[in-house]
């Protein structure tokens, strides 16, 4: 090899100690680079921080964008720097992690079902609503942010799913699910659509959307005590009502009429509707901008009941709220931000315009009565709905319930699937799996060892 010979002709240079350790040079170079930038950064940020108060807000991308205007106004009023930061993924987990380290934002925007977990980790402080604040808000929104007798957030919007239909294809609102399916089948037969309806299911199921149908078919997830609080000991999954409700899913599923299918999931449910492939869509207010953009004529109604059931079910009502971080650096200013962001009509209107869902502030809802009737319709569609439980046990249910839904829609036998589902959930929330299955004729369970750990 040529090169080493070329170099090896100069052995005298090798004796020079300075040549010996270029790696040392490399390491020092690294250090130098770090030192330079480190110093630079230090000088830049150190000076201004103490003078101007800072409010850092974490929200998801959509809400972060919607909050920009309010943040600017608020910052000007209080001489503060309000930094609205979008955390695109794992917002809740990241917030808890940051809070544990004493870092993180001063204000967080998120759904009401986070409250249980945020409270048990000491990540948020109660937001004490004044009487006038309470009166100005939709009562269900206040109830949703109430946990252990305290209000923990400033609610600003409600959301729930509804049945959205393409009025060009279906002029009249169906009264029952069966009616909707019949219309869908007819349109499919005529070749006007390719799907009977578009309901997000996916391979892993979608418990949130499924719940609207599940409850209309008579099922429930957790019972409630006399005060209307969720009772984690009353797991509704293992009841006869649950089996009957899921039988309906199976009948609507791939081995049945084919109205529910796993190939329509959270990613493509809305596009399936906006491209005119399906006459019905079960979705929430977030679908509306896409539908409008696609130029589809639509109307919104509650998810209808099934024939022969009472129809007292309803969708989950989720509430979006502002929370004050327990580790907020300037807590008084953070509380003020939360109170004003949720309490001002102007802000509520701006937030609703940026991100149309029914506002929690009554005055703002009234403002949109004529200009955006959709908001009222969604609220009406949730009239019989229940507030999404904030109890930590609910987190255990989402995933297995969704998977059981997907399996049953795919044609799995209902009873045995419900038994496995119930046992798995019961085991995780500390209930006796054997007692959690409460319907007659449940398949033998001896081959499933108890999953509870005591």
């Amino acid at each position: 090899m040529n090169e080493h010979r070329a170099r090896s002709r100069a052995p005298d240079r090798a004796a020079n100690p300075g040549l010996r350790r270029p790696c040392a040079l490399g390491a020092a170079l690294l250090g130098a680079v770090l030192a330079l930038t480190g110093c630079g950064g230090d000088a830049g940020s150190g000076g201004s921080a103490s003078a101007r108060p800072v409010v850092t807000v974490w929200a998801d991308d959509q809400r972060a964008a919607a909050l920009k205007d309010f943040a600017r106004t608020f910052g000007e009023k209080y001489g503060a720097r309000v930094s609205v930061q979008a955390v695109s993924k794992d917002l809740q987990t990241n917030f808890v992690t940051a809070s544990q380290a004493g870092e993180g934002p001063d204000v967080v925007v998120g759904a009401n079902d986070w409250i249980g977990n945020l409270v048990q980790n000491g990540a948020i402080d109660p937001v004490r609503l004044s009487t006038s604040q309470r009166d100005s808000l939709e009562p269900r929104a206040v109830k949703a942010v109430t946990f252990n007798g305290q209000t923990y957030g400033m609610p600003y919007a409600l959301e729930n799913v509804a049945l959205i239909r393409n009025t060009a294809l279906v002029p009249d609102a169906p009264a029952t699910i069966e009616e909707a399916v019949a219309v869908g089948q007819r349109l499919k037969g005529e070749g006007k659509v390719s799907e009977i309806m578009s309901v997000p299911v996916g391979q892993a199921g979608d418990a949130y959307h499924a719940y609207a149908l599940y409850s209309q078919a008579g099922g429930y997830l957790f019972g409630r005590d006399a005060q209307g609080e969720y009772n984690p000991a009353d797991l509704g999954l293992g009841t006869e009502a649950s089996v009957r409700a899921l039988e309906k899913f199976r009948a609507l599923g791939e081995k049945g009429v084919g109205a529910l299918k796993r190939t329509i999931g959270p990613d493509n449910a809305i596009p399936t509707f906006t491209t005119g492939k399906a006459p019905f869509l079960i979705s929430g207010p977030w679908a509306v901008p896409d539908i409008k953009k696609a130029g589809i004529a639509y109307d919104i109604q509650a998810v209808p009941r099934f024939e022969g059931t009472g129809g007292k079910g309803g969708p989950f009502i989720g509430v979006q709220a502002f929370y004050v971080a327990a580790k907020a650096k300037n807590k008084a200013l953070a509380q003020e931000f939360v109170a004003q962001a949720g309490g001002s009509e102007r802000t509520a209107i701006a937030l609703t315009e940026a991100n149309p869902r029914p506002p929690a502030l009554k005055a703002a809802l009234a403002h949109f009565k004529d200009s955006n009737p959709d908001l009222g319709k969604f609220l009406a569609a949730g009239a019989d709905g229940v507030i999404q439980p904030a109890i930590p046990q609910m987190n255990v249910v989402w995933d297995p319930f969704g998977k059981a839904e997907a399996a049953i829609i795919g044609g799995a036998p209902v009873r045995s699937t419900v038994v496995s589902l119930t046992r798995a959930v019961a085991g995780q929330i500390g209930l006796d799996p054997d007692k959690a299955v409460r319907f007659a004729g449940a398949p033998a369970t001896t081959n499933h060892p108890a999953a509870g750990k005591d």
């Binding site: 090896s8 991308d61 870092e103 596009p271």
Partner: protein, 303 residues
């Protein structure tokens, strides 16, 4: 194909490498093109979908087909007017270039030590590197976060929402990721080369910088490229470390575009952003290709 040789270097073995290679090479078989084309099609199918959505001004997830139904640069324009795309791009380039270059150097040093020296703890060290890589990162995030909280309080210039925080972190992973790759290549360079150099009086540093590194320049280029790509795509840590919109990287910014509620509407925008993101990577590859494929290492004769 000519392979220029530094003129000062006498050629020990007579015939020039180009002629020798010419002797080995045969006619270019058609099958080579067939394989390349087939694989290119395989590589491109999902990407055509992205291209189609990016150029479709009404590009939504639902309306996108393999063949574009419309064409325009609307999405690209919006990228730079309605998002911080340019800044994200700059951040990503800075972080990836710095982390890529630094990690390439650190792993080359490490690989040299592991390949050429026999010292106590060598095998334990290599095994350790492998094991460290196996640990699930989502678990370590909490610890890393705690650590950077400590650092941010003391050195805000290299703390949260700075590019340096990520560069430091990626440096930590660099040794594990690439040292194994490099060591394998270092092992293929015959030991007799450096030994004879040492006999001639060259120091270990001279051997490293003037013999080993040039000989393994293809793998240096590969490693640099791989770290660059890996850092461009890294999401988990960047997502929690960079919350300030000004500090975000492309991966974090792009992911944010297709969050729930926006996924359909922003899909075209997102695809446009993804396509542009591939440009520096492909450009870097094309630039490095001459090192990867230079063939200069073919001079390394065993013995």
């Amino acid at each position: 194909m000519a392979t220029p040789i530094p003129p000062a270097v006498p050629h020990p073995t007579g015939p020039s490498p180009s002629r020798r290679r010419g002797g080995v090479a045969h006619r270019v078989g058609w099958w080579r093109h067939a394989v390349a084309l087939l694989c290119a099609v395989f590589a491109l199918i999902p990407i055509v979908f992205v291209v189609s959505a990016a150029f479709n001004p009404r590009g939504t997830l639902g309306s996108t087909t393999l063949w574009p139904s419309g064409a325009g640069l609307e999405n690209f324009r919006k990228l730079f007017t309605s998002t911080d795309y340019g800044r994200w791009f700059g951040n990503s380039l800075l972080i990836s270039a710095a982390a890529g270059a630094l990690s390439m150097f650190a792993s080359a040093c490490g690989a040299y030590a592991f390949s050429r020296f026999r010292f106590r703890g060598r095998r334990a060290g290599m095994t350790g590197l492998l094991l460290v890589q196996m640990f699930p990162q989502f678990l370590a995030v909490v610890a890393i976060y705690l650590m950077f909280t400590w650092i941010t309080a003391r050195y805000p210039g290299i703390g949260f929402n700075t590019s340096w925080a990520l560069i430091l972190l990626y440096m930590g992973g660099a040794l594990g990721a690439n040292t194994w790759l490099m060591k394998g290549f270092f092992d293929t360079v015959p030991k007799s080369l450096d030994e004879s150099a040492k006999v001639d009086g060259a120091s270990h540093a001279q051997v490293f910088f003037t013999i080993m590194l040039p000989l393994v320049s293809p793998v240096l280029a590969v490693t640099g490229l791989l770290s660059f790509i890996g850092t461009m795509n890294e999401f988990l840590l960047a997502n929690i470390f960079l919350t300030d919109p000004e500090a975000k990287t492309l991966a974090v910014g792009l992911y944010g575009m297709i969050q729930e509620g926006n996924r359909d509407a922003n899909f075209g925008l997102f695809c446009a952003g993804s396509l542009l993101m591939a440009i520096p990577i492909v450009a870097l590859f094309l630039y490095l290709q001459r090192f990867i494929v230079s063939g200069l290492t073919s001079g390394a004769v065993k013995g």
